[in-house]
């Protein structure tokens, strides 16, 4: 920030930021995603990934999963601000390192090139629930599910071996065991 003499408030030292996952239950109505996303952009919060779909067709409830980074104070604010929105029913937030929560992201990869290189790709993806969705002599479309950072790593690795297109869902989350979010 440039040094202005008339700056009334000067930014103070920052705490450490961490990655958190928010799960938000909302009424599935027009504009609800814009409200949630607008809250993030309007207040300067960051969105790393976002996944949303209806989960209860009878009650008309959608579940939004947002990955974000922020200091504990900012994360606390995000939660309180989200809870205030009228169509929001409940909000849960987890640290990415939380062992009691499963985070998964799905990715589709299109690989083209010689068989040898494509096999190399398949080999790397094997342990991530690999599914081959489509194949021709010169191409493959595959699906994997993994953690966000694992997918980051794999896609980097596959690039030189013929990865031409990648599509990712953004993380979704669920707690381990019989307990549900409250």
């Amino acid at each position: 920030m440039p040094k202005s003499k008339s700056a009334y408030s000067i930014p103070t030292k920052k705490e450490k930021s961490d990655t958190y996952i928010f799960v938000v239950w909302v009424d599935n109505e027009a504009g609800v995603l814009a409200r949630v996303v607008g809250l993030f952009s309007g207040r300067g919060y960051n969105i790393e990934s976002l996944a949303v779909a209806e989960v209860d067709a009878v009650k008309n409830i959608s579940r939004i999963t947002i990955v974000t980074t922020g200091t504990p104070q900012v994360i606390d604010q995000i939660k309180r601000q989200l809870t205030k929105l009228v169509p929001v029913h409940k909000v849960a937030e987890f640290k990415r390192e939380d062992k009691n929560v499963i985070f998964k992201e799905m990715a589709l990869f299109k690989i083209t090139g010689k068989k040898k290189k494509m096999d190399k790709c398949l080999n790397v993806c094997k342990k991530f629930d690999l599914v081959i969705l489509d194949e021709t002599k010169t191409s493959k479309v595959i699906q994997i599910t993994a953690l966000r950072r694992e997918i980051d790593k794999i896609s980097k690795k596959l690039k030189p071996w013929g990865l031409v297109s990648a599509s990712r869902t953004g993380a979704v989350a669920m707690t381990r065991g019989a307990k549900i979010f409250n």
């Binding site: 009334y8 408030s9 504009g31």
Partner: protein, 588 residues
């Protein structure tokens, strides 16, 4: 078979069931069916403004002075965009507004039709919630919910966008449901344990201070009563934010005056040095806290607020009590009284030393100014206005700038809901239309807009509204020919480079008054001030009072840029002393 009503009829049935008596609005193509229906509902009076922003601010003034939600009716497109400033203003200052806007017919939405705009998209960040009514069968429920959302929890503006075809369509009317739960949006879940914790803190405090805000006003007159009892029971000093003025009597000895950027020396020093800070219905705004790192460094902090998202947003607190101020403080008072029966040892003796210290700060007389016999000092003008109107249960609105701060410093409010000013958004042009709304809510009361000549020109057209409805509002303009606060900052912080802050070619306000059909009064000399103010008060009709004041006066005290509470710039007397010691320059 139940009777079918048109959308326009349903709008009015809802307004009637919500006990709405006044709406502020401006007609246009997309709301014509609603305007057509107006004649059939005599319990609702429509106030025709001259610009939709004026409708919004008038509704704000109405709401803040009466405690009831303000209702606004505007057309699509420019009607809706013009009201955005007022909605944002209401959102920042937690004022309950229900804005009904017309929209192009459903089948034209998204086609860039004439006077179409994405109203719900534009107003989403400046309302608590908004609705686009796409199905006539949802209209009654949405209208009732709109009032509920606007008035419960932390109040705020909402908007209902109604396409023209929906206004014509017919359906059954649904009455408001009783006590519909808004999935926990209005919280009141504090526990006795929290109250007990607070009592413990009160007992042990040696240097306490109460910092109250607009939440006390919003919570209703009972909250102000509870606050007064609380201050009396504890014997603690109390300071208030701009929005909280009037919740506690401004002329009481326990009141330290306003705090913050232009707050008093004693209030800000008490905030800085205290060991217990009790925030009641305020939000640690940046004009209050100054430099966050050095804000009240040695205190335990308590925050009582109805909005959970206000807690720990700016300042981390040691004890947070989420709830309605009236209920929380009521409970605290009860608990104190109960416990006093056990051991009647009040801690008033504990804080005697603290009061001595406060007395020393008070002796600085930080609101002082050097009065003059030749020119009217703006502070003097506000003081005279106060003295001449204080026995009249006067309602005061303001615009934004120096005059606003002088009004806050020198006009002493003794009752809640008497002071309407744009604090959060700082909207120049707020005061005149707000005065219109206040006068509508209180036709028999004296309503004064303490204004600056630059601000008031932004919404001057609403004088025409005041004249049309014969609203005897008094526009008291402290005319210094500058955007005074801008000029002050330029003088203190930008080497006196008065870039674009002088208004050349100001209108002749007397002729302007004449043109609008109201009374104009001009005062240029301190000796004529009193009788001219009296003339203004006595005149039964709207008045524009052009009070020519010293153009070079600055608003002190002031916390300069990036400084904590205990490093204030004081008024001219003190600066003179400092100059002798060679420290004067350091202040700038």
């Amino acid at each position: 078979m139940p009777k079918l009503y048109t959308g326009a009829e349903i709008v009015f049935k809802c307004l009637e069931d919500q006990k709405v008596e006044h709406i502020f609005g401006y007609p246009g193509g997309a709301v014509l069916p609603i305007y057509d229906e107006l004649k059939n509902h005599t319990s609702i009076k429509h106030i025709l403004v001259r610009h939709e922003q004026g409708a919004g601010h008038a509704a704000e003034g109405y709401a803040r002075s009466s405690g009831k939600p303000g209702v606004v009716l505007v057309t699509s497109g420019p009607g809706a965009t013009n009201v955005v400033t007022a909605l944002t203003d209401a959102y920042m200052d937690s004022v309950p507004l229900v804005c009904i806007s017309g929209q192009v017919p459903t089948h034209l939405i998204g086609t860039d039709a004439f006077q179409e705009c994405d109203t719900t998209g534009i107003t989403r960040p400046c309302t608590k919630h908004n609705w686009l009514v796409k199905d006539i069968n949802d209209l009654s429920e949405i209208m009732h919910e709109a009032f509920k959302v606007a008035t419960t929890g932390r109040p705020g503006p909402v908007l209902v966008d109604i396409p023209k075809d929906i206004q014509f369509a017919k359906t059954k009317y649904k009455k408001p449901k009783k006590e519909k739960k808004l999935n926990g949006k209005s919280k009141n879940e504090f526990s006795q344990k929290q109250i007990d914790q607070l009592i413990d803190l009160l007992k042990n405090a040696k240097k306490p201070v109460i910092y109250s805000g607009g939440g006390v006003i919003n919570s209703g007159p009972k909250a102000s009563d509870a606050l007064r009892e609380f201050v009396e029971l504890t014997g603690f000093p109390i300071t208030s934010t701009l929005q909280g003025l009037g919740a506690y009597p401004g002329d009481d000895n326990q009141f330290l005056g306003m705090l913050g950027m232009h707050g008093t020396y004693e209030a800000n020093n008490a905030m800085h040095d205290c060991d217990l800070l009790i925030n009641i219905g305020a939000r640690f705004d940046d004009r209050i806290t100054g430099k966050i790192d050095e804000f009240s460094p040695n205190s335990k902090k308590v925050h009582i607020d109805i909005d959970p998202s206000s807690i720990n947003k700016i300042i981390k607190v040691d004890l947070a009590i989420v709830g309605d101020v009236a209920k929380v403080i009521g409970k605290v008072n009860k608990t104190i009284l109960k416990k006093k029966n056990g051991h009647n040892k009040s801690n008033k003796s504990n804080i005697a030393k603290w009061w001595e210290q406060i007395q020393k700060w008070r002796e600085k007389d930080s609101l002082n100014f050097i009065n003059s016999n030749n020119s009217i000092k703006p502070q003097h003008a506000v003081q005279r206005l106060y003295e001449l109107t204080k026995d009249k249960d006067t309602y005061v609105t303001t615009e934004v700038g120096q005059h606003q701060m002088w009004a806050a410093q020198h006009y002493k409010f003794n009752k809640p809901n008497r002071w309407m000013t744009s604090g959060g958004l700082g909207t120049m042009g707020y005061g005149l239309p707000a005065a219109v709304g206040v006068q509508i809510a209180h036709p028999e009361k004296l309503v004064v807009d303490i204004a600056g000549e630059a601000s008031v020109l932004m919404t001057m057209q609403e004088m025409s509204t005041a004249v049309q409805y014969n609203l005897p509002i008094k526009i008291f303009i402290l005319n210094n020919q500058y955007m005074g606060m801008v000029r002050q900052w330029q003088e203190l912080l930008h080497e006196k480079n008065y870039s674009e802050s002088y208004s050349e070619a100001l209108p002749d306000f007397l002729k302007m008054a004449e043109a609008y059909g109201c009374k104009g009064i001009k005062a240029e000399n301190p000796s004529e001030l009193d009788y001219k103010i009296q003339e203004m008060i006595d005149y039964n009709g709207p008045v524009i009072f052009d009070c020519h004041v010293d153009p070079n006066e600055n608003c002190f005290p002031m916390i300069p840029s990036g400084k904590p509470h205990n490093q204030m710039i004081l008024g001219p007397n003190d600066q003179e002393e400092n100059k002798i010691k060679g420290k004067g320059k350091a202040l700038v």
